[in-house]
């Protein structure tokens, strides 16, 4: 994306101002529960940035959000509001888990890519119905994706608890309750952690950290997203349709076809969201598999203004806030919910600040545009 450097500084400055504002509001909340905000923020920072494991955990925590953020952004760029990331990644994760435990005897270099592919297929399949309904029947995608989220919850529950539940969990008879989960995924389908690679550089991560190769993969995907959207004719059509479908149609672009492709792509990327947890942290899928990445992905895309760099940074910010929250809860006795409030304020203020800044920049551009055309 080509940008006028004049306004770049303003655009970069606005989220930082917003974060600063949110921090002030957060301080008031912390004061209200009779804690010292300076101490809380200090702890948050030190706990997050002074410890190697915290840093790695932030990256690990950001990984699913980069995927879901990119998935939302692809939709946004085409003018589609994919609220269904949540359902799409659960279905994708489930299909991945299925192929992960059911297929055996494949070498890792086939099995792992196959599992990743299945996750994408799952996400795309779950995105297919809403976009079909939108393009052919005019059903708004927000409604249908929300509904499909609920269906996916129930479907996953049914498959895990009723159909594929692992009955041989190796517990001694009469000892404990078995987990309601799918069988464990074959080792050939698991994603290796980055520990070995990082130790080459003298960085030794402890074992309780699950930073794995999905993180660099997510960064790579962000780069790919940039090229696709801003450098290819398909991306051009995506943006044209997203901003003015009637205009794009008159130019010979088929909005329906672009909607279809964009939404399926969004679903496919959404399918990757759960893999970092599934193939590294858990190694199986159970009923309590993490939820909410989809909705946080919307916030991430919004904060990142649908740009690849913005999305990665916003995801890292979320990762930091989550890790920092654990720190302040443990060391200062401030409940994690305080940090959740901080997150909420931050999202709101970033969105508002960037809108205000956007208006200002548009006004400036208008002046600039008029300067050239006063004669006519």
């Amino acid at each position: 994306m080509r940008k006028r450097s004049k306004y770049l500084l303003l655009e970069i400055a606005s989220p930082f101002l917003a974060i600063f504002f949110a921090v002030l509001v957060g301080a008031l909340v912390i004061l209200a529960i009779k804690k010292n905000p300076v101490e809380v923020y200090r702890t948050m920072f030190l706990f997050s940035f002074r410890r190697l494991d915290s840093l790695a955990i932030i990256l690990f925590g950001a990984t699913p959000l980069i995927f879901s953020g990119l998935a939302v952004a692809v939709g946004f760029k085409a003018g589609l509001f994919n609220i269904g990331i949540e359902g799409q990644y659960l279905i994708g994760t489930f299909l991945a888990a299925l192929v992960g435990f059911a297929v055996k005897g494949l070498p890792a270099f086939i099995h792992l890519p196959l599992v990743i592919l299945m996750a994408m297929v799952g996400g795309a399949v779950w995105a297919w119905l809403p976009i079909y309904l939108k393009v052919r029947r005019g059903v708004h995608e927000v409604i249908s994706t929300i509904m499909l989220n609920y269906i996916s919850y129930s479907l996953i529950h049914f498959f895990i608890a009723e159909v594929f539940m692992d009955k041989q969990q190796g517990l001694a008879p009469g000892v404990g309750n078995p987990l309601i989960r799918l069988p464990k995924i074959a080792s050939t389908a698991l994603m290796p952690k980055m520990h070995g690679f990082l130790s080459l550089f003298g960085i030794d991560l402890p074992d309780h950290v699950y930073l794995n190769w999905f993180f660099p993969l997510a960064l790579l995907l962000a780069v790919g997203y940039y090229f696709l959207v801003w450098r290819t004719p398909f991306g051009y059509e995506l943006r044209a349709v997203g901003q003015n479908p009637a205009g794009a149609e008159a130019a010979g672009i088929k909005p329906g076809a672009v909607f279809f492709k964009a939404f399926l792509l969004s679903g496919a990327i959404a399918g990757l969201t759960g893999l970092s947890d599934l193939l590294s942290y858990f190694g199986y899928m159970d009923l309590d598999f993490p939820r909410g990445y989809g909705f946080n992905g919307i916030a991430v895309a919004l904060m990142g203004k649908n740009g690849p760099l913005g999305i990665v940074l916003a995801a890292l910010l979320f990762g930091f806030l989550n890790r920092g929250a654990e720190g302040v809860q443990a060391f200062v006795g401030v409940p994690m919910d305080t940090i959740v409030i901080l997150q909420g304020v931050m999202i709101l203020s970033i969105v508002v600040f960037s809108e205000v800044m956007g208006r200002f920049i548009r006004q400036q551009e208008k002046k600039e545009g008029l300067q050239g055309s006063v004669v006519l």
Binding site: T232, A240, E249, A250, G252, K254, S373, V374, V375, L376
Partner: protein
Amino acid sequence: MDNPKMEVSIVQLRGITKRFPGLVANDSINLEVTRGEIHAIVGENGAGKSTLMKILTGLYQPDGGEIYLNGTRVEISGPRQAIGLGIGMVHQHFMLIPRFTVLENIILGSEPARRGVLKDKEARGLVEELCRRYDFKLESQVRVWDLSVGQQQRVEILKVLYRGAEILILDEPTAVLAPQEVRELFVNLRNLKGQGKTIIFISHKLDEVLEIADRISVLRRGRMVGTVMAKETDKRQLSEMMVGRPVFLKTEKSQPRVGEERLKVKDLTVLGNLGRPAVRQVNLTILAGEIYGIAGIEGNGQSELIEALMGLRKILSGQVLIKGQLTSDKSVQEIRALGVGYVPEDRHRRGLILPMMVWENAVLGLHRLRDFSRPTGLNFKNIFAHTNRLVREFDIRLGSVDLPVRNLSGGNQQKVILAREMSRDPGLIIASQPTRGLDIGATEFVHQQLIKAREQGRAVLVVSADLEEVLSLSDRVGVIYNGEIVAEFRPEEVTPEEIGHYMLGTKSLLREGVGA
């Protein structure tokens, strides 16, 4: 026209200034309007006419200057206060409720009532008395959706009179009317003037202004150029005042040298948005090297016809052949690839992607051409070279091609579209309302381009609500009424009045093969 009695000015504006970010819309404007005169305010788009009137009706507050009514200084805080002071505005776009009757529309918002119960009889009496006094031919119990555009405009004027306006501001009142309706409007306006009302008439159609107004004030780029007596001026002087330089009013063109058939439409029927046929059994043929104009009052199927030709709307029955090829099973893209350049009537909705950059808009629809992209990536170098060439050749005025096209003026936006569509060397150009909303300079430019295209042997289809434009550009003219081409002429064969009859549907020559 009798001379206005030179009494005290009913409206006096002194040094009115209004600034918007980045431009001064009104720059210390002085204006005096005498009681009982018809005072025209002319100027190009963006000259500041509407801003000035919005200040007079209280929609905008001026940043500087004073308003005097009958010699007393007033502050006008809103339309409600303006009408209280006797200033009423008749908008260009009617604000009527179609399913209400004439009476209901007129009294809406200031109904005579006792204890919340409408005094029906009294209201009706009031309105009918108004109609009688000003000789407005209107039935008060007819629903507005049954009225013609001219009649609807009368309802709008009555609305303002009903509220006690002494000063009526009419914003481009003739833009939507056929010549006959314009004449009726002028009769009404003279009646109003005869009864002592003051009329401020905003327009950019100089012939009409010269006919109806007593005095004419000219605005240019936010400044008052001057006020002249209508009797003592002419079109040439006025347009020079408006533009600031001499203007060629007549479009010069040579005899057509026609070639093969480029567009053939056979018995075309197309449905409108309401599911009823909007285009009925239309037949037309356009040859290479000629301009075919479609005249008609807006909403008579022009838009639907063009959309059907471009593949943007389904054809119900009949055929469209472009360069001899049937288009019924072709996509928009395939139709354009036959060599069709398209200048849509609504350039913001159909012609451009406003938030996208100028260079992105310069290749819209061409972006898949080999020169500009491979599936793996856009060729920025070629796209920019192409854009810069268009900017040069079409003299597009802009700060940078790397700014959203939304920032360009209307004329320059239209140039971007025209330049883009011409750049693919089209055999057929379909231009719908090509000069709508453009100022004189840009209009002139668009006309020249269309005529140049014709001279290069392209076939050109022009649809315009501006009858004068159609007649001056076209080699042949078809008149569309209620979805049918009711007559076909060569422009020199007919008077505008006669065409007006066809436009209003009071006369029909359907399929009698007059003209080509």
